[in-house]
């Protein structure tokens, strides 16, 4: 790279290109926000779902599981776990984790949730399952 293409031309392309593509990204983001209410089911969010999301966060569930494919890859996808286990199945699974784990197996901690908390977690997971996420995951196994 020499001759006609100078450093100041390269610099101008850098600043111009960055600003242009950042503005394009902002425009796409604004458009996304106008479409999201139809897809993210925000109208259905109840205080119980909000509580479920909080429990999801403060117990660091994402440190082992994925949610809509994002998180850690140590334990199953939970965005559609309601489809696999049903409400009661999910609650029973969380409640029945042995405190000392299962010998030789990947084990989930025993969180000692109350019934109210378990209901909130299930409500949150059901809400996530209802989001229009372009038909992901490919099948019920997640």
């Amino acid at each position: 790279m020499s001759g006609a293409f100078t450093k100041s031309m390269a610099r101008n392309i850098f600043y111009g290109g960055t600003v242009f593509f950042f503005l394009l990204f902002l425009a796409l983001s604004f458009d996304t926000h106008s479409q999201l209410p139809k897809r993210d089911m925000r109208a259905n969010i109840t205080p119980q779902i909000a509580e479920g999301k909080k429990l999801w966060e403060v117990n660091n569930c994402i440190g082992c599981h994925t949610l809509m494919g994002e998180g850690a890859y140590f334990a199953p996808e939970l965005g559609n776990v309601i489809v696999r286990y049903g409400d009661e199945g999910v609650k029973a699974f969380i409640q029945s984790r042995p405190k000392e784990g299962i010998p030789g197996r990947r084990s989930m901690p025993q969180f000692n949730f109350t019934d109210e908390q378990l209901n909130a977690i299930v409500a949150f997971l059901k809400h996530v399952n209802s989001i229009n996420d372009a038909n992901w995951p490919p099948n019920d196994q997640g």
Partner: protein, 458 residues
Amino acid sequence: MQFKSQAVAKPYFIAAIGLFVGQILFGLILGLQYVLGDFLFPAIPFNVARMVHTNLLIVWLLFGFMGGAYYMIPEESETELFSPKLALALFWIFLVAGAATIVGYLAVPYATLAELTGNSIIETMGREFLEQPLPTKLGIVVVALGFLFNLTMTMLKGKKTAISMVLMIGLWGLAVFFLFSFYNPVNVVLDKFFWWWTVHLWVEGVWELILGSFLAFVLIKTTGVDREVIEKWLYVIVTLTLISGIIGTGHHYFWIGTPEYWQWWGSIFSALEPIPFFGMTVFAFNMVNRRRREHPNKAAVLWALGTGVMAFLGAGVWGFLHTLAPVNYYTHGSQITAAHGHMAFYGAYAMVNLMMISYAMPILRGRAANSNKSQVLEMWSFWLMTTAIVFITLFLTAAGILQVWLQRVSDTPLPFMVAQDKIALFYWMREWAGVVFLIGLILYIVSFFVGGKEEKTA
């Protein structure tokens, strides 16, 4: 060294290496938990170990970036650092905050930590990579602002080169995009949408500016190639980075509730993301081939070439492998993602920091380069760690292909844990490659303490 205030970089580099060791030890714990599920359970559950592993990575890279910037900016600006005292004070604040956070993760259950640290004031915890308690997050902002103030003031009173401008844009971007970590709406789609404004716009955006700038700086110093040429390359590379990487954020918006058009925007722009990395590889080799001097620090030149190649492979090639929406539909959130993550972070960000440390540390210790004996050892550590990460990536890729096939593509999809059991062999091989990585890292540290005849003083 040319300016005595550059010496503040030294503690930053030492802390970076120390935290790097911690990261790798926890990586080995995690790798073992993949195959011996109850290893250290319930004392250190997987999610806690993973949080320590990824957070130590982020913190040591930030220490490396800060150390590198404190070393580079005075030399580029041709003036002493605005306030070396501030730089040292911020070092201790950041180190103590970082250590306290890690101790917090390990000492109490995460939910208790959240309660103790006032997560209910602003709920920001429990999101991947941004697990830090509120006081730590605020601490990061304070340290970042103090750091940027210090460097910006230094630059304002001195020379403003292209290399330091690109670095400062990268560092300011790092601070600005971190602010999105404080935004955590109840709506999980919005939460995820803006979470990526920190995570993606860091690693596939502004951090690449820091990478390019460090690489350009070390290439100028070690090859003696004309600054005009190097800075022109740098501008071209960072232009390609940002025009592909900003809209490339779209490859995270395929399956999280965002509109389907992101599958097109994300696929097309992120398919371009390997180009700037390829540019970096060509850049590094080209400059070294056209060198006008033989720099005595061969190890630093090796890291510079290595980071170009490995960033291209890890971030570029392994990123492209699963970035097209029809492919990603099957690979999303699988071991393929983990494979890419490991080689990309090592190749781009671990190696560029090791390059900067390799170049600057001998000078900070009063010599142009380490003894031949020490450099040979450092180059051994380069090859061991790099080969190990290549194998970690290959094994995880094999595991990922099998996982995707068994769990998602086959006519009779298997449950997650059944599929995991079937691919355990690859997790074992990954763990052994991890042990080799640790040996490489130990040799790396030993290389700092090996004497021998040193190259003449800098």
